[in-house]
Each structure stands twice: as structure tokens, then as C-alpha cells.
Assembly symmetry: C3
Homo-oligomer: 354 residues x 3
């Protein structure tokens, strides 16, 4: 169950080669191979990476100016996806074209729209401001998962796992699991989207600083911590989190940690997923070693998640029909699944270009 | 076609960590992941290794006293399988439990009962006495097979393969294949089980000592050899075998080889199998080098079997519908398959807990 | 969709061990494991490599004279496929036999007939003369493909790919793709076969010598090149190709390159294929380094094909139902697919031994 009429991140901006670079970038999204490149004018192009003739990947071919030529029998495609040359043929049949996807880069994330191009709307792009901002610093991350994307959404929608999966990395306290978050709808950005996602707000008071914070800044007191994030369709997490000495006022000066994280999940196939992520800290605080240290904590923790979700997925595969037991801590993930289901049904009432 | 109301070996006793060891042991049996551990009091516990909440394996979590805590969201389970704590929840719903399996250790084999716990009956445990006895010595063995368990049962029920598969290891003579064994039913241990398996008795007279025996003891005469074994449901072989100088009386003093072997097959999935085995010699005869030498012969021979059965399985996979040709030498294995079929039907007339 | 009533190459002649060599050769053709060996009298034998008893591969057994003995339970088969000995049994049931295939070696290719033996006809063997001839030299090649065999047929039936896939190896000019070939039917060799394949004739005038030719012989002029080949059912290419200085008469003396190539595709399974190939040059021209150089060019180019077809197959697997776009350059491959389809239907009107 994948939404099509929405934006998916296909790459970090720096993954897509410059126009004068002969390499071609390809990645599979929702089971479709997609080629992304930049024109000489700097525009992004996203084409179906499957020649209409015999289905060879265009990415095995070559750039010719702003066009791409298939490396199998030489058909040449322009950025619109239209074929403009077939070796040995005088005319090109109108059906000779590959699909073109709306594509846009925002704050160093490259988004493709996998559904009806006429419905693509940049107002629906998430506000991943800290991915590219003079005020924030981070090191970008990418992981590949051999599990369905919804299992990873589930993980991100219930932070009670921090106390267990990340006990020694991000977590540091069972108090995170014990705290009940506030769960609210995130209103949609446009008329078409009455709800865009789920907001999860969790405050935990008077807990020891997590090991991860200690490497960032030395604390000798307990902290009050907060995690406030929006989890948006189809699978993007935007989070403010941090900690300050217990009892200090939210805006009081003095030592604190304030972070912003952007994470997003893109289904590759039914059982595999792309995961793009970063955790930013204010540009004025800490040097490159802090940025690197945060990244290392994060990649360590996200490997803990991947190990757990992969083990979970293996168990599910042994008995796919077995029901899970919904519990109070699942409120956010169940709401998100319902929201996804209702969007999916709405999309199928107004048929989508396949 | 798996029986559920019976005992399967899940591990050698020494594979299950002691209560003060933090490691958790897991193995899949009949497609179900099963966690086995020991309480402080020394009792064995076998639980479904799949948290009822989101199906994560409990074995990725941790021991807490005699309980186990899931490493994903922190649910804590007691040895009965009942969940006794859910972080952040005041009460635990009664449905929060994982399946608990009857489990018992006998002579260093750990057995689990995969069917209706109310029907579990230790009278049905096989008499694997030589696995743990002051009178017998062996080195325990384990092999993993990428083939269905019935193909390995077939192999063990027709020793005519010794002459060919094990010509240079256990066999040594085509006379084994030529000898017709006596095949008899093994009566059941309880009222419910009119028949427990198949007894195969094979005597071969006046044959050269197999290489395997020569390493155990030097013979300068031909031998009379015997193989007498019960092959019991669901897949356990218990065998007396040996050889003595041709013409000597069965109980005459003088050089002879007398061995006892316990072997058992446990389906892991439809196409993979656990194989536990040993071949014991009398404790008073031979030193550790003999024990080691017997083990090495056995593991060498069992790898020959695995190579053959794996090649056979590959051929079967190319054309699964093709019929095999039953021959006289298949009497025991066909009888065993019929017995298994009739038990399977009996089990389904009296429905089993799934 | 495989034809059965036709010859498939299973091996190069030198791959089949001599009668006094204990090794047994096996290869899977059309999903059937086939054992091939030579008798003491030098005759070829091709048997189903699957014992009728328990389906073990006979190739894991051993030669005994002109017979083969199964390595599992010792059944012995003669070259006709009839079982002539079962250890422990006085009589051999008539059903105890494995399938025997018509097999013939011609010019160092070993062919098996996978359909009704009564219909096998050596008049249908292709004329692979340059595979074994005092007048021609080559080094034999073999590649294994993880793709269906029809995708490779497609590749060989449209040489316009030379300009792109083999731009830097065999091709050297976009003129190859631009030239329109003449396509004609190849009449059948027997009454039963009104058409045996497709003849493709392509002349390209006044093009630079391909790198591949330059290593064979130095040219300082442009060339006129030709490719004339028959592509025969079920999947054999027989080709004359070459080049001569532009404007020179076809039979004029002087520098030219004249080559003959034999290539054939044999389905292993639905998704894997055997590829046997060679490219011969006249024995009187060039030394062993030329033979080796041609082979190296060929294997390099055929790996380019395999990379492309494997990438194409991966794309097809993502969406197997998506239609391809037929173009003028596909005339030969579409005609071949129609021919194959009509033969397939003819075969099923006159039922084939399965």
C-alpha cells in the first residue's frame, strides 16, 4: 500500500552528479527505476530508467548534452521523456517516450512525485530547513533496509523504543518509555490534504543525560528532555529535541542541547527501503568534531534499529498472518496507518496515473 | 506434514546457557522461533521467541532474573509466557502473553513439545541413554541441513546406502546393501500411541572390518556385523551396532566393537532441518583419541550424506511432481511415512492447539 | 516456451571426459539434469541425471565400464537407461529406468534431443563447420547467463546494438545501427520444418575499422563491412562477417578480414541460459596470438552483452507485465519469436513425449 500522489526523497542533492559529470544516477522508488540528472542550465530531470523499446536501463547509457541515449540500441531521449532519435529510423513514433517525473530539490533533498504529474504541488514538500541552512550543521546519512518501509515508520512513531533499543546510545533512561506523549494531528498544507501527519510531543523530566549528549557537552546535573516531531505522509520525520538542566526555564540561558533532525523513508520495493537522515546542531555551537560525534552516535543507533527491525521482519515472515497486539504506546503508529489508509483510498477514488 | 503433539529435540543440554549467563538461546522449530533458558532454580523455560506486541524476537532482549524483557519496547515476560510489565502502562492486558512450550531435558537432549501442552507426556521421550551415562562416551554432534527433514529420515531408514555413500568411511562392503533387514513395528509407550516407530535389524556376516572400525581397534579377521535400531516418531534413531570376528559367539569374550548411537531430526522450516547426533562407545574401552576418532568418522560420513541429500533435493526441486520408484529396500521408509501419515490424521481428528 | 523436438548443444566435445576418465559430466537443459559420457567404443551416452528410485543425481555416482552406478543405493544403469542391477534384489522391475536422450557430436558441439526420440533427425543439425575444420581456427567459449534465453536471442537478432553496447570493442561506428539489414526466411532442412530460421544480411560501407579488426590486421583505409548470418531454431547463430578496403571488389586480393562465427543458446532453466560460442579466422592467416586476440575481443564484448541483458532482465522483473515498444529494428527478432511460437504450437498439436 503505497501512496503515489506525494513527494518521495530519492537522493541527497549532492548525490546527483553535475551536468558536466558523465555519471548517471539511478535509484528504484516504489518498484520503479528512476534516473535523475541535471541539465546544463541546472534543472533536475527525473526519467523512468527503463527504455520504452526493450526496457534496458537508460542509466547504462550515456549523457548527450541535456539528453540521454540508451546504451542498448541508441534511442535518444530529451528531458521531457520524449524520444528524439532512433538510429536507422527517419521518424520517431509518438509512443516512443519514457515517463518523466516531477522532481525538485529543496534544502538538499531531491524529491520525485510518483503519481499524477498534474497533481504535483510543491506546497506539499516538508519543511526540512535544517538540511541546508547557515544556522545548522550536520553530516548527511543514508541507510538501506531489507524490510518494508511501514515497519520503520512504526519504529519512528513510538519513541518508547529508545529506552531499550538505544539504552546505551540515544536513550539512557527507562523514563522515556514511561512518559506518555501527546499525539495530535498535523493539519494539511492544502485543501486536498486535510491532515498531513501526526505530531508527537514527549517531555521527560529529571533524567540523566544520555551518553550521546555527554559527548556533545558535559552535564553534571539531571536534565529535562523533550522530543517534538511531526511524522508526515508518506514517511518524513521532522523533529526538535533537546535537554536542559532540570528545573531551568525553557528559554533560560545556560547549558542546553538543542537539535533538529530530518529523516525520511522511501520504499524501494515491497520489502526494501531507502532511509535518508540527519541530526543537526546549531552552527554556532561546537566544532566539526561535534558534528562528527553526533553523526557517529546517530549511525550507531540507527544500526541498532535496523538490526531490531530486520529481526522483527524475519519473525513476521515466519508467520505473516499472525496478529500483533495493539497497546497504548501504539497510538501514534496506528493513527498514522489509518491516515495512510484513508489517503490511499482517496487516491483510488480519484484514479492515479499508474 | 509435521506432527505437533510430540517431543522434538531443540538443543543439546550444554547449548542452553546457565541462569547466570546473560546470553539467550533461540532456535526455530516447525517454523516457530523458540527461546530456551534456565531459571535460577535450574528449571528450563521455552517461550515463543516473538513478542506478542510487534513480533520482535525476545532473544534480542535481555534476562531479568527468571524473566525476559523484550529489547524493542520493554515488555517483560515471566516463565509462563505471561507479560507482567509494560513500560508506561499501569495494567497489563490479559492477552499480553507469548506461547510457552513444555520443555524437558533428558540425558543431555532438550526436548520441546510443539502441540497441545495438555497432551505432553514424558513417557513419550525416547530412551537416549547413551547421551549421558557413566558407561558410555561420545562427542556430541550437530549439523544443519538445507533439505526437508523427511529426506533425511528416508536416508536413515535404509542403510543400503552405506555401501555406496559411505563406501570409504562407514561402509566398506556392498554386502550391507545386499543384506535384507528385518523390519518390525515398535510398539507405542502409551495407550494413545499404538506404534512409536519402526525397528530395523540387519546382520551381515563375514565382511572385512570397515576403515572406521580399524581405527577403533585392529582386526585381522573378517567380522560379523549388526545394526539394530529403532526409528521413532517424529524422527529419532536409537541404534546398537557392532562387529565381532566371524564365527565367534555373540557373547564370547575377545575383540569386538559395540556401539550405541542416538540421532534425531527436528524440522526447522519446510526446507531446513536440525540434526543432532552422537555415536557412543563403552566408557571402559579406548581413550579420548578413540572418542575423537569415532566422531571424526561420523562427521565425515554425515557430510557425505548431506552432500548426497542436498544434490537429491536439488533434483527434486527441478521437478517436484515427478514420482519416485518404490523398491523393496524402501520398506522401512515407506512404513515410516505411512505411520507418520496416520499419526498426522489422528492428530487432526483431535484438533491441536495451533 | 521451449521447443523440445530439436537439438540443443549441451557441451563442447572436449568437455565430455574420455571413457577411461572417471569424472562424470552433467548439465541442466530445459530444466532437466542430463548426464553425458562416452563408452569404451567412443559412443556418446546422454541419460537423465536423476535416478528413478529416489532422484539422486547419477553424476554423483560412478562409471562401471559403459554403465553408471548411482551413488546413493547402488542401482546400475546401462547406456540405454535401463537399470540392470539393484543391490539386494534378484530381479529388476521393468519400470526401473532413466530417460535416455539422442545425443550426437558434430564439429565439436555435443547435441542432445530433448523431445520424442523417434523424431530426432540429424538432418536438423546446424552446419557449425568452423567449430572443427582444418581451414579455420578459434578458441572455444562458454558463458553462463542469469537471464531467460529469449532475451539473448533478441540481442543476437538485432546487430544495431553493436554501435552502442560494443562501441569500443566490436562496433566502432554508429553506421552499423543505421544500416537496414535484409531479412529473409531460412528454409527448413526437412519436410517437417518449412522454415528453420531467419537470415540477416547487413552491409556497411566506408566505415573506420573497428578496434577489434585493427588488432587482427592494420588497416589505413576505411572498410566496407558485412555481417551475414542465419539464426536458426532453437537458438543458433552461424555467421560470415568481415571487412575489406572501401571500394575494393568482393573477391579482389589484398588485405581483408574474413571471419566465421558459431554461437548457440541452450536454456538451462526458465531464467538461466548456457551460451556456447566461437569466432573463427582462416587457419592460414595469423598465428596463435591472433586467435587469442580475437577470443579476448569476443569475450570482452560478450560480457558487455551479458551486463546489458542482465540489467534489462532486472528491469523487466520489476514490472513483468509492461509492454515493450516494437520498432523497425526488431523485425528479425519479432519474426523469430513468431516462428518459435508457430513451431511450439505445431509441436503441441502432435504431442511430445514429456
Amino acid at each position: 500500500m503505497w501512496l503515489r500522489n506525494c513527494w518521495y526523497v530519492i537522493a541527497w542533492g549532492h548525490e546527483i552528479p553535475a551536468a558536466d559529470d558523465s555519471r548517471l544516477f539511478t535509484r528504484t522508488v516504489l518498484g520503479e527505476p528512476v534516473l535523475v540528472y541535471r541539465t546544463a542550465a541546472g534543472d533536475l530531470v527525473a526519467l523512468e530508467d527503463r527504455c520504452c523499446h526493450r526496457h534496458a536501463p537508460l542509466s547504462v547509457g550515456r549523457r548527450e548534452g541535456d539528453c540521454v541515449r540508451c546504451g542498448y540500441h541508441g534511442m535518444k531521449f530529451e528531458p521531457s521523456g520524449r524520444c528524439i532519435e532512433i538510429p536507422g529510423l527517419d521518424t520517431v513514433p509518438p509512443k516512443a517516450r519514457v515517463r518523466s517525473y516531477p522532481v525538485v530539490q529543496k534544502n538538499n533533498w531531491v524529491f520525485v512525485w510518483m503519481g499524477d504529474p498534474a497533481r504535483s504541488d510543491t506546497a506539499l514538500l516538508p519543511d526540512n530547513f535544517s538540511c541546508e541552512s547557515p544556522d545548522w550543521k550536520h553530516r548527511p546519512g543514508y541507510l538501506h533496509y531489507d524490510t518494508p518501509y511501514l515497519l520503520i515508520c512504526d519504529n519512528l512513531l513510538d519513541f518508547s523504543h529508545l529506552s531499550y533499543v538505544h539504552e546505551k546510545s540515544l536513550g539512557g533512561s527507562t523514563r522515556i518509555a514511561q512518559a506518555r506523549p501527546v499525539i495530535e494531528p498535523v493539519p494539511g498544507a492544502t485543501h486536498d490534504w486535510p491532515q498531513m501527519g501526526i505530531r508527537v510531543t514527549r517531555h521527560i523530566e529529571d533524567v540523566p543525560p544520555p551518553p550521546f549528549y555527554q559527548r556533545f557537552r558535559q552535564f553534571d546535573t539531571h536534565l529535562d528532555r523533550w522530543f517534538i516531531y511531526d511524522f508526515l505522509l508518506p514517511g518524513t520525520l521532522l523533529m526538535h529535541s533537546g535537554g536542559r538542566p532540570t528545573g531551568s526555564a525553557p528559554d533560560a540561558p545556560g547549558p542546553s542541547v538543542r537539535l533538529h533532525s530530518c529523516q525520511t523513508l522511501t520504499p524501494e520495493t515491497e520489502t526494501t527501503t531507502h532511509y535518508f537522515f540527519q541530526q543537526s546542531h546549531p552552527a554556532g555551537e561546537g566544532d566539526d568534531t561535534v558534528t562528527e560525534s553526533i553523526y557517529n552516535s546517530l549511525i550507531g543507533a540507527f544500526n541498532e534499529d535496523r538490526d531490531m527491525i530486520t529481526a522483527q521482519h524475519r519473525n513476521i515472515a515466519l508467520d505473516p498472518q499472525r496478529a500483533m497486539l495493539p497497546l497504548a504506546m501504539d497510538a501514534a503508529l496506528l493513527q498514522f496507518r489509518r491516515l495512510l489508509q484513508s489517503r490511499f483510498e482517496a487516491e483510488h477514488r480519484a484514479p492515479v496515473l499508474a
